[in-house]
Amino acid sequence: MSATPILSIKDIVKIFRNGSEVKAIDDVSFDVNLNEFICIIGPSGCGKSTLLRIIAGLETATSGQILFQGQPKTQPTSKVTMVFQTFGLLPWKTAVENVELPMEVAGIEKAEAKARADRYLKMVGLGMFENAYPHDCSGGMRQRIGVARALALGPEVLLLDEPFSALDELTAKSLRILLLQIWGDPALPTNNFVMVTHNVEEAVMMADRIIVMSPRPGRVVGELKVPLPRPRFEHLRDPLFFDTVDKLMGMLSSNVEEQM
């Protein structure tokens, strides 16, 4: 564990005012340490996606702050990028154009942007499909484009908002393995992942540490260090994997019972 966390979530409160006040997130704090894979898990309505959007700078917190490398962060930056649940691709741009756009905006030279886009599309397995439009691609291919786009900027932190929930299980499985490889690859600059999910097995398979949240208002009700060794897909049949899943399930459901 490193001394300064790459990302600190400090006392975040989010209240939506829409006629009446709804407290979506209530005093959430945790750190993301260097090279850590964090999953935020919780039932729908626990504010996990809102929290991710506050970290990304898409929403502003009612109170509290996000520290990125020790500095307060309120705006989106190219150092923290995001993969979206339904991909967020521009339908009128090809795969390579979708990946290039953020780099163009960030002022990266055209030739360099093209080279990087090529490299990252190859890395996610879409070397042949650079000029395909999103509507010609399957869901899995679209999310691969989304991953390549988010990584091409070379961010320090990658935020993932339920990146597999719009995909079928087989596709999701191969994308999970791809993301774990990317995260573990020391040659790539992006080694800090924060992923939102509601899939228990997925969280245990991928995360170093799991933040468990409860709904209405969203609160952190527990934290779980996953004791499973990596590479994880070699240990998916270990009793330890199932024990961890059960433990996490218990943390989630005990919390639901409290609500009832």
Binding site: G19, R53, A56, G57, L58, P76, T77, S78, T81, M82, F84, Q85, T86, F87, G88, L90, P91, W92, K93, L101, P102, E104, V105, A106, Y133, H135, R149, L153
Partner: protein, 544 residues
């Protein structure tokens, strides 16, 4: 209550400033026009429902009805109105023909929206609903009553709003037709109503009175929209079990306002897509048949006409400079140019509004009420008073061009604005988030996110705007005022058409011009707009 107070205030102010004797009959005229528009609306509704459901549920009927209504929609109403009116007045003397003519024009202004709205709605019933209905043994009248009618209702209401507004817009054209023949003899066909009141006042030079009439008409349109259609739409939306997945229950009024527009917008997109799809399927056979029929009618008329004028005269007319036929190519370009100038201006306004709709949070709060207000302006009624008013201080040609430009703008801009702004507002939040996360800002955001996102809506709006524009451009190119032996004209197809109908009384020539005009309309639509729409459709974002 506020509505009636406004009407009463208008009436009292009118009688005070203009004179009691002039405005005393205005409520009577207004009621007559209201009755006329309402009755023709109900006829259009019946026809649209019956034929729409038939076309949507029966393959054979679809093959005949959809191209037929599509052609009817493509041919500019005001282009063939003179022919129909002349025929009706000969066939039904004693003023009956005038009334039927007026009703016919209103019918053609209202029918297409309703028909295609119904066809689209029936075809869009989710297949799961249809399967469930079949599974539980709903057939015949049960199926109609519990599935088809409830499914059609929201689309029917949306189409009704459009039809109602179009009907009122054409009211002024339907109630009053005036022309002078080649000998300079003035003929007036009119039926009593608010439209002919406006026209007559303009003809007699009481320009304040005609503006007053326009105001009253605008108020009636606005009030009926608010009191009838918007209320009905809100009510229908609240209990719609069949389409619960499409229309969510209403929550708050601003939301409701937006949803109403969104629904109307969805209908338009679907309606156009539907027509495109259906006519693509049918283009090879059915359309060929229709074109052959039209061609043979034209051929026959020209042939029947030839012995009278002689082949040589016909040919020499084509080649002679200044002849009716030799003008066709150039005059067509003039008319297209007129439409294009207005269209380009509308595009500028629309794109500005689209950008504002995405970037400014409270844009909708100002836009939709203004849209409601603007859409209530009966633009055809505005044209003549505007022309006469401008004519006071400007040269004839200039004032007529300006009045024509404004008329075309008012006829075209709403289709574009409505479609594009609603699309811009329906932009999926994920795309907005993507542009925020990756720092896509300013001009880049306009060119790379907003414009491509609204492109399909933009093309749909353009298609509809040009259709609407063709309908009224004819009206602006030919103005016959009382006390003038010759009409005020702008060089264009509309002028050629009206001149052939009224001054020359040459029916084959009218049919020929009409054929050319419809040909241009259909060609532009098929070769430009529908082709573009097909190309961009797959790049479209998903609207819910």
């Amino acid at each position: 209550m506020a509505a009636f107070a406004a009407l009463l205030a208008t009436y009292l102010l009118g009688s005070y400033y203009i004179g009691m004797s002039v405005v005393v009959d205005v409520p009577y005229y207004a009621l007559l026009s209201l009755g006329r528009v309402a009755i023709v609306y109900f006829i259009s509704l019946g026809v649209g429902l019956a034929f729409g459901i038939l076309a949507a549920t029966n393959k054979h009927a679809e093959r005949v009805l959809v191209p037929l209504f599509d052609i009817g929609q493509s041919v500019p109403i005001l282009g063939y109105f003179p022919v129909v009116l002349t025929f009706l007045i000969i066939a039904f003397p004693h003023g009956v023909g005038n009334e039927i003519g007026a009703d016919f024009l209103l019918f053609t202004a209202m029918e297409w929206d309703i028909f295609f709205g119904v066809v689209g709605a029936v075809k869009n019933i989710p297949s799961s609903v249809e399967e469930a209905a079949r599974g539980y043994g709903f057939t015949g009248s049960n199926h109609l009553r519990y599935v088809v009618i409830p499914a059609v209702l929201p689309a029917l209401l949306s189409a009704s709003v459009l039809a109602w507004n179009d009907g009122w817009t054409f009211d002024v054209a339907s109630e009053f037709v005036q022309f002078a023949n080649s000998a300079g003899k003035l003929t007036t066909y009119s039926v009593t109503g608010l439209g002919s009141y406006i026209q007559l006042a303009t003809q007699q030079g009481h320009i304040i009175v005609s503006w007053y009439g326009v105001l009253v008409m605008g108020e009636i349109i606005f009030i009926t929209n608010q009191l009838i259609w918007h209320q009905l739409q809100n009510r229908v939306a609240t209990h719609k079990p069949v389409l619960a997945t499409i229309i969510r229950p209403d929550l708050q009024s601003p939301l409701r306002l937006r949803r109403r527009f969104r629904r109307l917008f969805g209908l338009r997109i679907r309606q156009v897509a539907q027509t495109v799809r259906v006519s693509e399927q049918l283009s090879t056979r059915a359309l060929a048949v229709v074109f052959v029929v039209v061609l043979s009618v034209v051929g026959f008329l020209v042939y029947a006409h030839l012995p009278i004028r002689g082949l040589q005269a016909f040919v020499s007319d084509i080649t002679r400079p200044g002849g009716q036929l030799s003008n066709v190519p150039l005059y067509s370009l003039f008319t297209i140019g007129r439409l294009f100038a207005a269209y380009i201006t509308c595009v500028g306004i629309t794109l500005l509004c689209a950008v504002l709709a995405v970037t400014k949070k409270n844009f909708a709060r100002y836009f939709y009420p203004l849209y409601d207000l603007g859409r209530s302006v009966p633009y055809l009624a505005v044209f003549l008073p505007l022309f006469v008013t401008l004519h006071g201080s400007l040269p004839t040609g200039v004032s007529q061009e300006i009045a024509s430009f404004i008329l075309l703008m008012l006829a075209m801009v709403w289709y574009l604005l409505f479609n594009v702004v609603t699309a811009a507002r329906a932009l999926p939040t994920e795309l907005i988030e993507v542009s925020a996360v990756f720092g896509v800002k300013g001009w880049k955001r306009v060119t790379d996110i907003i414009l491509p996102a609204v492109l399909p809506a933009f093309i749909t709006g353009s298609l509809l705007a040009w259709g609407g524009g063709w309908n009224v451009v004819i009206y602006s190119e030919y103005v016959q005022l009382a006390g003038q032996s010759t009409p005020y004209v702008l060089p264009g197809l509309g002028y050629l058409l009206d001149n052939a109908a009224y001054v020359l009384g040459d029916i084959p020539l009218v049919v020929f011009f009409l054929f050319i005009m419809s040909g241009i309309v259909i060609l532009l639509e098929r070769l430009v707009w529908r082709r573009l729409l097909k190309r961009v459709e797959r790049f479209g974002v998903e609207f819910n």
